[in-house]
Amino acid sequence: MAELTSTLSETPNPPVSKRLAPWLLSGPGAIFFLTLLGMPLLMTLVLSFNSFDYSEGIISTFTLNNYLEVLTDSYFHEIFLRTYGISVAVVILCILIGVPEAYILSRMRSPWRSLFLVVTLAPLLISVVVRTLGWVLLIGGNGLLGKTLEALGLAEASAGNLMYTHTGVIMALVHVLVPFMVISVWAALQKLDPAVENASLSLGASHSIVFRRIVIPQILPGILSGSLIVFALSASAFATPAIIGGRRLKVAATAAYDEYLNTMNWPLGAAIAFILLVANVALVMTYNRMMERRFRRTLG
């Protein structure tokens, strides 16, 4: 009894070790992230306010000139517009390919379903660089696509050369990113009550109406969050645009890279990187906010 009262009196004021436990437990992870992610980010931010001179290199100043340059120069406008244009196109194509793919996968019978899901996701196991170089073999100057077109007598071999074109970059990015859309839609489809489709059939709906009016609206949150992932990844993609787009078709990530490693103008590269980061975060958060408001009442 005495023990019970003593524990009770202690409850509002737990021992120090107990109060520290959450901090101690999350500490290692927090330190890991702060040093490996937070610090470089902070250093990049500081760097973006410095200035650069070709003879003297990086000068420790505090100036907004780098930001002004990126935000006012039409050269950078074009790069950012291209980045987001490519991203939007990639998102649309990923929806058009990934949603039916996930739906068909979910309707497959049991041994095939898991088999094809693995086949769909397997490309994620291969490095993006390797996969992109594979695309170069297909759509390069002397690639398989051009050769095939020529052999079939449809067009000249050069028509198959999609290197340094928007089409080429978009194709390769879609290939890299479609699995993310499939996973996201797949997860949404798993939450669907199969009886709901039967219910709409019993009310006289055709299969296409069931898909359009019953299935799609319910997996819309999955499609939208898939789009978010695909959009964020393609807006910040580096390897694919660098290999297939090259210098001729710069996007924000490759432009920042070039500023760092070719022009050696680190502060300007840091500014580009930061604008890309802020723009991406802003877009993603607005989108998320919109989605939450839209689906809170219906789908939770």
């Binding site: 009550d193 009886a195 709901v196 039967n198 219910a199 709409s200 059939l201 019993s202 009310l203 006289g204 709906a205 055709s206 109406i209 019953i214 609206p217 319910q218 819309l220 009442r297 219906t298 789908l299 939770g300």
Partner: protein
């Protein structure tokens, strides 16, 4: 004249037979229940009628038309699903309207019919809510309204009340019965709950292991069960082994130490037979007046009645007595058990599967 007719309907999944030779006639406006334990084939039968499962054999006729090969979305049957299967992204009114939209009913008429039907199920004030924002009972009503608004020739109910708590289930049973009688739609319900089947249906179809065991009015299924399965599945019962013995040249039944006449002993082939006596048909008396003598092992108080478990020579007996407001018999008491001759049923052993 039968409205829905199932002719030796069979469904096989590989080597297992989910439903075997189901033959059934349902009259227009009738409320029929398929009753059985899980895995007895009742849901498979319902899904074959709905068109979600293709029968391996047999025919389904609705209003004289063979619909066996018709697609589910051509049959026009109203279905209430166990999970309700409401469209979560549509409001209550939109859910109800969906079937009318598919039939291209003009807007003003569909508006009228939706509000009529929502009023029928008592949800006219909740038309703008989403399914998530409703209670279980309300969702159930939406599912019913959505199925009824298309004025289906046949209404299928798949365990419609199993997701509701006991109190609500009782209320919904009464309401479901009232609505069905008001609308007059031929209804087929699947359930594993015998009290639900007995209270709602005009006839019950008791199923076990894919076969129809008995088709009867609820009262008859309860009072005149065909075999041991029906007697123990529909309601509680005491299943007892008895022997046919000869007393003064008259065939009689022997149960424990008690030998008694039984009106119909003709046609009993084996000497060992099964008897069924419902717990409420047994009476407890003092040990001198009982046909069997036993001792009270357990006593449960169930509100409106008592449930006794009595140990006797003939085996354990369940006895229910109405609660008259005093505790007469306690655990450990020696009692006599007796019954009226017409309380005893002779049963066949189940012979199918």
């Amino acid at each position: 004249m039968s409205f829905l007719r199932l002719e030796s309907l069979t469904k096989q999944y590989g080597a297992t037979t989910a439903a075997k030779n189901i033959t059934l006639d349902i009259a227009k406006g009738e409320f029929v229940s398929l009753l059985g334990p899980s895995g007895c084939g009742k849901t498979t039968t319902l899904q074959m009628i709905a068109g979600f499962v293709e029968p391996t054999q047999g025919r389904i006729l609705m209003d004289g038309v063979n619909i066996t090969n018709q697609k589910a979305n051509q049959r026009g049957i109203g279905i209430v699903f166990q999970s309700y299967a409401l469209f979560p992204h549509m409001t209550v009114a939109e859910n109800a309207r969906f079937g009318l939209e598919m039939r291209r009913v003009p807007v003003d008429e569909s508006h009228r019919r939706v509000s009529e039907t929502l009023e029928l199920v008592g949800l006219d004030h909740l038309g703008d809510r989403y399914p998530r924002e409703l209670s279980g009972g309300q969702r159930q009503r939406v599912a019913l309204a959505r199925a009824l608004v298309i004025r289906p020739p046949l209404l299928l109910l798949d365990e419609p009340l199993s997701n509701l708590d006991a109190k609500l289930r009782e209320n919904m049973q009464i309401e479901l019965r009232n609505i069905q009688q008001q609308v007059g739609t031929t209804t087929l319900m699947v359930t594993h709950d015998q009290s639900e089947a007995l209270s709602l249906s005009d006839r019950v179809v008791v199923m076990n292991q894919g076969c129809v065991v008995q088709v009867d009015e609820p009262f008859n299924a309860y009072e005149q069960p065909n075999d041991t399965f029906v007697s123990s599945f529909v309601g509680k019962t005491n299943l007892l082994s008895a022997q046919v013995v000869n007393r003064n040249g008259q065939p009689c039944l022997r149960l424990g130490e008690c030998i008694f006449d039984f009106p119909v002993t003709a046609g009993l082939e084996s000497d060992d037979i099964k008897l069924s006596i419902r717990p409420e048909r047994l009476e407890l008396t003092d040990i001198h007046h009982g046909q069997l003598i036993g001792r009270v092992r357990t006593r449960l108080f169930l509100g409106n009645h008592w449930l006794y478990q009595i140990e006797s020579n003939a085996g354990d007996l369940l006895v229910t007595l109405p609660n008259h407001g005093f505790m007469a018999i306690g655990v450990g008491d020696d009692v006599g058990v007796r019954w009226q001759p017409d309380a005893v049923r002779i049963l066949k052993e189940q012979a199918y599967g």
